[in-house]
């Protein structure tokens, strides 16, 4: 039994050998439904853009955070036009590259631009999933698992629609639609992350490092995606994860050099664009020290609004370390499954980051159809989906009661954010549990028996 994991690795190492045939076929056959989906998604967005709801959505605290709000980007541009550094105030917190990007683009057509972002994003997401799908297919096609596990392995027919489902999950997810209509720059971040995953799965080390660096530059947290990216690329290049091997360290050094090098270039570029380091505290200091307590769907705002002053720094450190903390244990546990690790990391980031929005949730939710083979082992899908739905509708209701009607207070809204986060945590840990359990079954067989021959129940010990 102990030889099996290594054997599995060997088996999976075959997957990049015949890359594009399946993809070609898929694209041809899926073109019609995909186009339909895109048209539908664009129509919904365009209709919402034109409607009076767009303004309302753009003000929603669940959809835009102080970092990603479009209103603040416009404010930054206005400050730039006035000759004031956008970072001299505390309204604009985007990175310098973003502001210069929008500086040139905003004049033409911001709306089509945002839509474009969304569609390119989904395209990349889509193709990412396509490759992901192929990878899994190849991995699973190797018919080496215990016989009774065959029903755990998805047939190609089942997997066939996964890319379409992923596209649908992203494009038609109300969270994505909302953050697109609000013109939140979160869409841009998601696009960069998606491009990063895409290039990683394609095996392009340089592009992967560059996109990861862009994502990190945008908001610090994607830094933790470094580990899955390196694990995946090492798998592709047949480099064993072994601390005693020089090739392992050589690859890590290469990747880190590319990553840090492009980060250095970006930071220097930003410095030369603005001529000052003002943006560092205003962007990264703002993310890390959480001075803006505007309510959002995260855990930080009310906690630090109610925090005793002398404990603030301590809890700030605890909460921020918490985001990065899971990287190493998760990497150790999931070192054979970097794509699932990416999913876990994205979920952890979007739950525990300092200014989360629904756009961040939409990103990791787009992965859910990829793990459709885990449905069998999920324990509380019903509960989680009910809570998530209820919370999503209660957010605006309780916000209205607190802010406009004055008949509720902040605790109501806070309670909903707590519940929403608990539901997300349940969702993620449930998927993690299901994934681990499936792995266990793949190794030991699906129908486990006790010593006395009766049916066994699995427990975590």
């Amino acid at each position: 039994m102990s030889g099996l994991p290594g054997f599995l690795i060997d088996d999976r190492l075959h997957f990049p050998s015949c890359p594009s045939q399946g993809g070609q076929r898929f694209l041809v056959e899926m073109a019609a439904p995909l186009t339909l989906l895109l048209v539908l998604a664009v129509t919904i967005r365009a209709a919402l853009f034109r409607s009076s709801l767009a303004e309302l959505i753009a003000e929603r605290v669940e959809v835009v955070s102080p970092i990603t709000a479009w209103k603040r980007v416009v404010e930054g541009l206005a400050l730039l036009d006035l000759g004031v550094s956008p970072y001299s105030g505390d309204v604009f917190h985007e990175t310098p590259l973003i502001i210069y990007l929008f500086h040139f683009v905003v004049d033409y057509a911001e709306i089509t631009f945002m839509l474009d972002i969304k569609t390119t994003l989904t395209f990349t997401d889509l193709s990412l999933m396509l490759f992901q799908f192929r990878k899994q297919k190849f991995a699973l096609e190797a018919d080496r698992y215990p016989l009774d596990c065959l029903e755990l392995i998805r047939s190609p027919k089942e997997m066939y629609y996964i890319p379409l489902k992923v596209a649908m999950f992203y494009l038609l997810n109300p969270f994505t639609i909302l953050s697109c209509v609000a013109k939140s720059t979160c869409g841009l971040n998601n696009a960069v992350v998606a491009l990063f995953i895409f290039s990683t799965i394609k095996g392009n080390t340089l592009l992967s490092a560059i996109f990861l660096c862009l994502a990190t530059y945008q908001s610090i947290y994607p830094l933790t995606l470094c580990a899955p990216a390196m694990l995946y690329l090492m798998q592709r290049q047949y480099i064993p994860v072994n601390f005693r091997r020089a090739s392992f360290w050589w690859f890590i050094a290469q990747y880190l050099f590319m990553y840090l090098g492009s980060l250095f270039v970006l930071i220097c570029l930003s410095f030369f664009l603005l001529g000052s380091w003002d943006y560092m505290p205003s962007v990264y200091g703002f993310i890390l020290s959480v001075p803006d307590l505007t309510p959002n769907i995260g855990l930080f705002w009310y906690f630090f609004a109610e925090m005793f002053e002398h404990f603030r720094l301590f809890f700030l450190c605890v909460f921020q370390i918490n985001v990065f903390f899971y990287t190493i244990p998760l990497s150790v546990k999931l070192k054979e499954h970097p794509v699932f690790l990416i999913f876990m990391q994205l979920a952890v980031i979007s739950i525990f980051k300092s200014y989360p929005t629904v756009g961040d949730i939409a990103l990791y939710m787009a992965f859910l159809p990829v793990w459709s083979h885990l449905y069998r082992f999920l324990r509380n899908t019903f509960l989680v989906s009910c809570v998530l739905l209820a919370c999503s509708t209660l957010f605006p209701v309780l916000w209205h009661l607190w802010i406009y009607a004055g008949s509720a207070n902040s605790n109501f809204y806070y309670a909903i954010t707590l519940l929403f986060n608990v539901a997300q945590i349940l969702l993620v840990s449930d998927y993690f549990y299901a994934f681990l359990r499936r792995e266990h079954h793949l190794t030991y067989g699906l129908y486990l028996k006790r010593k006395d021959g009766s049916e066994a129940t699995l427990v975590l010990k």
Binding site: V74, L79, D90, D292, A305, E309, W402, S410
Partner: protein
């Protein structure tokens, strides 16, 4: 001391002309006022004798005109190169005056001004240690903190421009402080911090709450009023505390700065129980360097203490439209401050030339005319340094008895108001309305807005419209806020078209603060200081081009430069803005609950990371376990 010095030439004069015996020294203090009056009667030695000479030569003229005197209400726009007394004089000088303006609303406006001039140099190396009229506490402040100019005002109530016209000295509700420092000051912020704390002690006010979050450095709105044209606004600090409540404890230290205290002179009228029973009360201290002579060879320091108060008709008049000093202040005047070189009461009778509006008693024959706020005003003057002002009863109780209730006031040409629009606690919009009532002239105004950081302004939403059209400001100085560090500062130069309303709107977002940053009454709201609108307004005198009544034809074709415009500063209402509040009662609960959620996340991941799946073995029952323990002790294999 002063009396002694003044009396010395008098004594000489009396000795020479009459060769009489010397009056005993013990009589000195009692005779002083009489002697002073006799000096004024004498044309050779008197200082301000224009009206006296006119009176003596004119003889029977019923209304006498006081000599040209530069009134200072409009003097804010520039340093006053005023020369008041050509004769050699002591190095310091004190003047006091009271202006009473009956308002058309039936209210009455009383404005006290006390001015101390001192020819000295605080900035020299050697310390100034001998103080006479100038208050030592302020002198030490000037020299210690290298202050060039200091303006501080405490105001209770809001000046209603549309009902009352322009005040002589405008001030915003609450406390306002602005200071120009000498350019030798290296760390202006630290000096400013220290200065505010010291002033807080001197005036018993909460000026110590002035910190970087409510201090701004206006680039154009507050120029030095004294001499010296340093305009580097790094040395300027401006702060307002709109919430400051002004009361007796601020008045008492203010009165102590006067040379006569509240013992003599006009200051005896300042009784707090009456002053604070009014619609509007404002007291201020202005310190600035001024020129001593018209060539400005020597400079002296001017300390101007002002107190403006508006008494309500319905509040204290018992329904009758009748005013007297006693009714207003519950005191009458019996003497001038002996240290004062001039002590006068002015009553504005411009709208009442023939006595048809109100009746003034006791009547005075002394008149004065001055340009005040672009308008030519006529005043009845009561000189308290003259004994006959007090009449036979030895006390002056001015009485104004209204005859008619109607009367129209000239609308102020510039007027502004401000309000917050929007509902809910998330966003809002500040509207500032500026009215130009001039029928055909447009003029530029400088608008200064200092908004606290917790209202996050979005400058891209700034709109300026007048007459339905976009009115682009020709100059915008905007400094965005930094959270918990500094406020927003918005200054702009806007041209107001004639006879129009200009509306400035800007949107803001309300921040949620930390629970310790709220005031003890958070649901009362947070104050935003007044906007300041500074402008050179075309004067009403220049407005009537058809005036041939007073001026000869040859002088009236081109509008006269110095009369064509005057400086006005208008303060809008302060705003009261509500912010969303957290629940103050449950920090522990929030900390516990949030930590629980984080722990749930951590715990479930930790659980899955550290444990592995195992087949559950049913645990043996209790009886079996006990039996096994016994069997183990017996050395028998377990069941």
């Amino acid at each position: 001391m002063a009396a002694h010095r003044c009396c010395f030439p008098v004594w000489l004069f009396i000795l020479c002309s009459f060769s009489l015996f010397i009056i005993a020294g013990s009589q000195e203090t009692t005779v002083a006022p009489e002697q002073h009056a006799s000096v004024l009667d004498n044309p050779q030695t008197a200082a301000e004798t224009a009206e006296q000479t006119a009176g003596e030569s004119g003889g029977v003229e019923e209304r006498r005109w006081e000599g040209t005197e530069v009134r200072d209400a409009a003097a804010q726009k520039q340093a006053e190169p005023a020369v008041l007394q050509p004769t050699p004089q002591p190095k310091d000088d004190f003047q006091e005056e009271l202006v009473v303006r009956p308002l058309h609303s039936g209210d009455i406006y009383a404005s006290f001004q006390f001015r101390t001039l001192w020819e000295t140099d605080f900035m020299r190396g050697n310390k100034v240690s001998h103080y006479r009229l100038f208050p030592k506490s302020l002198g030490q402040v000037i020299s210690k903190f290298s202050v060039r100019e200091l303006h501080i005002s405490f105001t209770q109530g809001y000046w209603r421009t549309m009902q009352w016209g322009q005040p002589y000295l405008p001030s915003p509700p609450g406390a306002e402080l602005w200071v120009w420092f000498q350019d030798s000051v290296t760390d202006v912020d630290a000096t400013w911090k220290e200065l505010t704390n010291v002033l807080s002690g001197i005036f018993c006010a909460s000026l110590n709450f002035i910190d970087s979050t409510n201090t701004v450095q206006p680039s154009a709105s507050f120029k030095p009023l004294g001499i010296g044209n340093v305009t580097d606004h790094r040395f300027l600090r401006y702060a307002t505390l709109p919430r400051e409540i002004v009361c007796t404890e601020n008045l008492t230290p203010w009165k102590k700065l006067l040379p006569c205290g509240s013992k003599a002179g006009l200051a005896v009228l300042l009784k707090s129980e009456k002053l604070f029973h009014s619609s509007f009360h404002s007291q201020a201290v202005h310190i600035r360097p001024v020129c001593q002579d018209w060539q400005c060879k020597t400079t002296s320091w001017e300390l101007r203490q002002t107190l403006n108060v508006v008494f309500d008709l319905h509040n204290s008049g018992q329904g009758k439209r009748e005013w007297s000093l006693f009714k207003m202040f519950s005191r009458t005047l019996t003497e001038a401050c002996p240290l004062a070189s001039s002590s006068k009461i002015y009553i504005d009778i411009t709208d009442n030339p023939e006595g048809e509006q109100f009746e003034l008693s006791p009547a005075t024959s002394l008149l004065s005319q001055a340009m005040v706020l672009g308008d030519r005003r006529t005043f009845s003057v009561y000189d308290l340094t003259q004994q006959d002002t007090f009449g036979s009863v030895r006390s002056l109780n001015l009485l104004i008895r209204w005859k008619s209730t109607e009367g129209d006031m000239l609308r102020p040409l510039l007027h502004a108001e401000r309000y917050v629009a929007g509902y809910g606690l998330q966003t809002g919009e500040i509207h500032t309305l500026m009215y130009n009532h001039h029928p055909y002239r447009s003029f530029p105004v400088l608008l200064l807005d200092s908004v606290p950081w917790y209202l996050r302004l979005y400058i891209h939403t700034l709109t300026v419209t007048s007459k339905g059209k976009d009115n682009k400001p020709s100059y915008i100085h905007y400094q965005p806020s930094k959270d918990r560090v500094r406020p927003h500062l918005l200054e702009m130069l806007v041209q107001l078209p004639p006879n129009s309303v200009t509306e400035v709107t800007v949107q803001f977002e309300r921040a949620l603060l930390k629970w310790t940053e709220y005031t003890p009454d958070p649901n009362h709201g947070f104050y935003v200081g007044s906007s300041v609108i500074s402008s050179l307004v075309p004067s009403t005198v220049a407005m009537d081009t058809n005036s041939t009544r007073e001026r000869p034809l040859f002088s009236s074709f081109f509008p006269c430069k110095e009369e064509s415009s005057y400086f006005v500063r208008v303060y809008t209402e302060p705003l009261l803005v509500n912010l969303p509040t957290p629940d103050f009662s449950m920090p522990y609960n929030v900390i516990c609950l949030t930590c629980t959620v984080v722990a749930v996340g951590y715990g479930s991941l930790y659980n899955l990371l550290t444990r592995s799946f195992q087949i559950e073995e049913p645990s043996p029952g209790l009886a079996k376990r006990i039996a096994n323990v016994i069997r183990k002790m017996r050395g028998v294999p377990p069941l």
